[in-house]
């Protein structure tokens, strides 16, 4: 007699969120991307179909970063000096969408210029991050939001102490927001509530529960994502946002990825290890429910993309 496989029937559903607008929708993107919509835990196709696959974003910066690993500088080369070039190369490397990180050195004009250049160079949907300081983020993101009105950008990064301005400008200009909280289920939920309370529709919020890199707290991010996803499926509407995490940023901060000299021999070959570090960080998060992973190295993008392909095709 065949075994009766226990199946979970969840009352909740992950919110579908569409990033990027083509001409018909008032933007200039060549395609838009939809994530979310799941009604079961990741890749359990025997319970429910997976309406949208997780996607991979590649992170580029408005100015060439001076603190990135030389392995990354090597692979991106001169394109790093020009966000438009970098965007093109990232698209070729297999990105589903792009993340453009602005820097403290950017003026509002620089920021708008960089965003326009990237929008012009690639038709992929775009996420724009402020440099990560409340005042500066607000100063740069408001003009960016206005200049790219209608593109359905994702503006980041909203945090509990600084979300009002970004949310307000995203609402006014038809964009989405990325809501980041430090690896805690309750905090994620709380920020979603605060942003919703401002009137932002749920299909324009992506939550970023934050992760640690492999070896640097990934288990917290991993479990927070699993718990958020379970809560969402149980019907908790304030946890039903799709999730975006930044394994590339986290992994390339670690000594294991960043440097090749002065490390133990037992760590093995630098380049292979660095890519493993980023790839495995990303894979673990894809398994725990990430809808967008932001990566940095093209080889990691390739490997994570293949893995996602296997996970969604059963």
């Amino acid at each position: 007699m065949p075994i009766e496989i226990p199946k979970d029937k969840w009352p909740g559903k992950i919110q579908s969120v569409t990033i990027g607008a083509a001409a018909a929708e008032g933007g200039t993107r060549t395609k838009s991307i939809t994530i979310g919509g799941q009604t079961c835990m990741p890749y359990l196709h025997y319970e429910a179909p997976m309406p949208n696959r997780p996607v991979i974003a590649i992170e580029i910066k408005s100015r060439k970063p001076d603190d990135w690993s030389s392995l990354l500088a090597e692979v991106w080369g001169d394109a790093m000096n020009d966000p438009a070039q970098w965007a093109k190369k990232a698209e070729e490397a297999g990105a589903d969408l792009l993340v453009l990180a602005l820097t403290l050195a950017d003026s509002p004009e620089d920021a708008v210029k960089a965003v326009k250049a990237v929008l012009g160079a690639s038709g992929l949907p775009l996420v724009v991050w402020g440099p990560g300081q409340a005042e500066k983020d607000n100063e740069l993101l408001v003009p960016v939001a206005e200049a790219a009105k209608g593109e359905k950008l994702v503006l980041g990064i909203c945090e509990d102490k600084n979300y009002r301005t970004i949310v307000a400008t995203a609402m006014a200009n038809g964009h989405l927001v990325q809501a980041r909280t430090p690896m805690d289920v309750n905090l994620s939920k709380q920020l979603n509530i605060l942003i919703s309370d401002m009137g932002m529709p749920h299909d324009r919020i992506i939550m970023d529960p934050t992760t640690g890199a492999l070896g640097y707290g990934i288990e917290y991010g991993y479990s927070v994502m699993e718990r958020l996803r379970l809560a969402a499926l149980q019907g908790d509407t304030m946890t039903q946002q799709p999730m975006m995490v930044t394994p590339g940023f986290e992994a390339w901060k670690t000594k294991e990825s960043k440097v090749g000299e002065g490390v133990p021999e037992s760590w093995g070959d630098w380049k292979a290890r660095a890519i493993n570090w980023e790839t495995l960080t990303a894979i673990a998060l894809v398994e725990s429910g990430a809808d967008i992973v932001v990566l940095r190295h093209p080889e990691s993008v390739k490997r994570v993309s293949e893995a996602i392909g296997e996970l969604i095709s059963v």
């Binding site: 065949p2 075994i3 009766e4 496989i5 226990p6 890749y43 359990l44 196709h45 025997y46 403290l104 990560g132 300081q133 409340a134 005042e135 500066k136 945090e159 102490k161 600084n162 430090p182 690896m183 805690d184 492999l214 070896g215 640097y216 707290g217 990934i218 288990e219 917290y220 991993y222 479990s223 699993e226 718990r227 379970l230 294991e256 133990p264 021999e265 037992s266 760590w267 093995g268 070959d269 630098w270 292979a272 290890r273 493993n276 570090w277 790839t279 495995l280 894979i283 673990a284 398994e287 725990s288 490997r303 293949e306 893995a307 296997e310 996970l311 969604i312 095709s313 059963v314």
Partner: protein, 440 residues
């Protein structure tokens, strides 16, 4: 189903006799519910209650131990689908596959056997070897035993060859790979004879569930499942279903740990395949490649996933740089409880003001809790400041204490006599203003 404290309490004598070492029967019941104490500590519990409690606490996934003279590795005994629900207990063993026919067998094993890598103070190694019997299995086992004392998995369906090889491994607990519907009788006999564990293999969960009771009927209790599956997605489905059947449906035929071959679809996918297996319930993971640049991240991933999530979330103690501090930037002190760290770091980061943040080892407690428990005192702070060699990074020897522990400033001045001790605000939200006004 696990019983709650009150449910267990109702099965106990309720006399508060204290003979179990707990002040009340209810205190004892709650410890029982948390599996932190054995029922046998209660001298007066009735037979009926004993039976009921034993049923509620039987492990749904059988514990399998592989053992050699030098090491052992366990799999099974798991109780949850997601690590946050309780914890994952037994880390999957990482085994390196070697070939009996390989002329460099001894050298390869020697190298992998000696591999050791340190991660936050812990030494990790590979757990054992899986020997493919494409040559003389007995000779291969002999050669391996000359250079390694780690547990073995023997990959062969030749009962006679296995019998001979296992004869060399008396006193050990070895795993045989693998029995299927065509050969299980002979392999089960061999396994039983040598008290070895046996992998059972099937094309589907149905086939496996059909086979394990038959193997059991032959007298083999210790089994491991090979779930098959053509790619990541299919294996994830089967692994999830098997674990769920064991846990949720208490389905005994699949209540065994699993084994997974990470290089089945090519070595270029091996790391990713192994990573999924580690996260998603595998009991043993077989690697074809011995490469430190892959083994190290896999060992770290395994450690991370199998860390007990009930322990407070901690940040690694150390000195953290916020907004690219310079030698003249202020030095702030806090504890390694993650929420404490994040609230301080976020406030300062958001203000754009550069600072050095010294995170002391307060055993994962917040400032007040740690101070209350004696884990955040002048001595510990001084130890951190000295241990992280803060003095070498700054030009001004001045540290800022959290306002909640202002009382420590006197003692700290004694401990760090050449440092200026300043008392900062109680709340992280007041830090930027304090740094702007008071520290200039």
């Amino acid at each position: 189903m696990a019983l709650s404290g009150i449910q267990i309490y109702k099965l106990l004598p309720q006399t508060n006799c204290k003979e179990c070492g707990f002040p009340t029967c209810l205190a004892f019941s709650m410890k029982l519910a948390a599996k932190q104490v054995e029922l046998s500590a209660c001298p007066y519990v009735s037979e009926a209650s004993k039976k009921q409690l034993a049923e509620s606490s039987a492990p749904p996934v059988r514990l399998i131990t592989l053992k050699a003279n030098g090491a052992e590795i366990k799999a099974g005994n798991e109780v949850c689908m997601f690590r946050h629900e309780k914890t994952f207990y037994n880390k999957p063993g990482l085994f390196i596959r070697v070939k009996a026919s390989d002329p460099d067998l001894a050298a390869k094993v020697t190298k992998a056997d000696a591999y050791k890598v340190n991660y936050v103070g812990m030494d990790f190694t590979v757990d054992g070897f899986a020997v493919e019997a494409d040559g003389d299995l007995t000779a291969a086992v002999k050669a391996i035993r000359a250079v390694s004392k780690r547990p073995l998995i023997l990959i062969s369906t030749d009962a006679a060859a296995l019998d001979s090889a296992l004869g060399l491994l008396a006193g050990e607990q070895t795993l045989i790979y693998a029995a299927d519907s065509s050969n299980y009788e002979a392999l089960a006999d061999t396994a039983k004879k040598h008290k070895a564990a046996l992998v059972v293999k099937g094309d589907s969960l149905d086939a496996l569930a059909d086979l394990t009771p038959k193997v059991q009927a032959k007298g083999v209790e210790d089994m491991v499942l090979d779930l098959g599956g053509k790619n990541l997605g299919e294996w994830l489905t089967r692994s999830t279903q098997a674990r769920r059947l064991a846990l949720k449906s208490n389905f005994k035929p699949l209540g065994y740990p699993t084994i997974f071959f990470a290089a089945q679809n090519g070595v270029e996918k091996e790391a990713v395949y192994a990573a999924q297996a580690i996260s998603k319930y595998a009991g043993f993971v077989i690697l074809d490649t011995f490469a430190p640049e892959m083994i190290y991240p896999l060992l770290v991933l395994r450690e991370n996933i199998y860390t007990d999530p009930q322990k407070p979330i901690q940040v690694t103690p150390g000195i953290y740089e916020i907004n690219s501090p310079k030698p003249e930037s202020p030095v702030l002190i806090t504890t390694n409880f993650s929420i404490t760290y994040f609230s301080v770091a976020n406030e300062v980061e958001g203000s754009g003001l550069p600072a050095w943040l010294v995170v002391t080892d307060a055993e994962g407690m917040s400032v007040l809790t740690a101070w209350a428990a004696g884990k955040f005192d002048a001595e510990r702070i001084a130890k951190a400041v000295k241990g992280f060699d803060v003095a070498s990074k700054v030009s001004k020897k001045r540290i800022v204490l959290p306002g909640h522990v202002a009382v420590l400033s006197g003692e700290l001045e004694e401990e760090l006599s050449d440092w200026e001790i300043r008392v900062g605000p109680r709340e992280a939200v007041d830090l930027p203003a304090f740094m702007k006004q008071a520290l200039n």
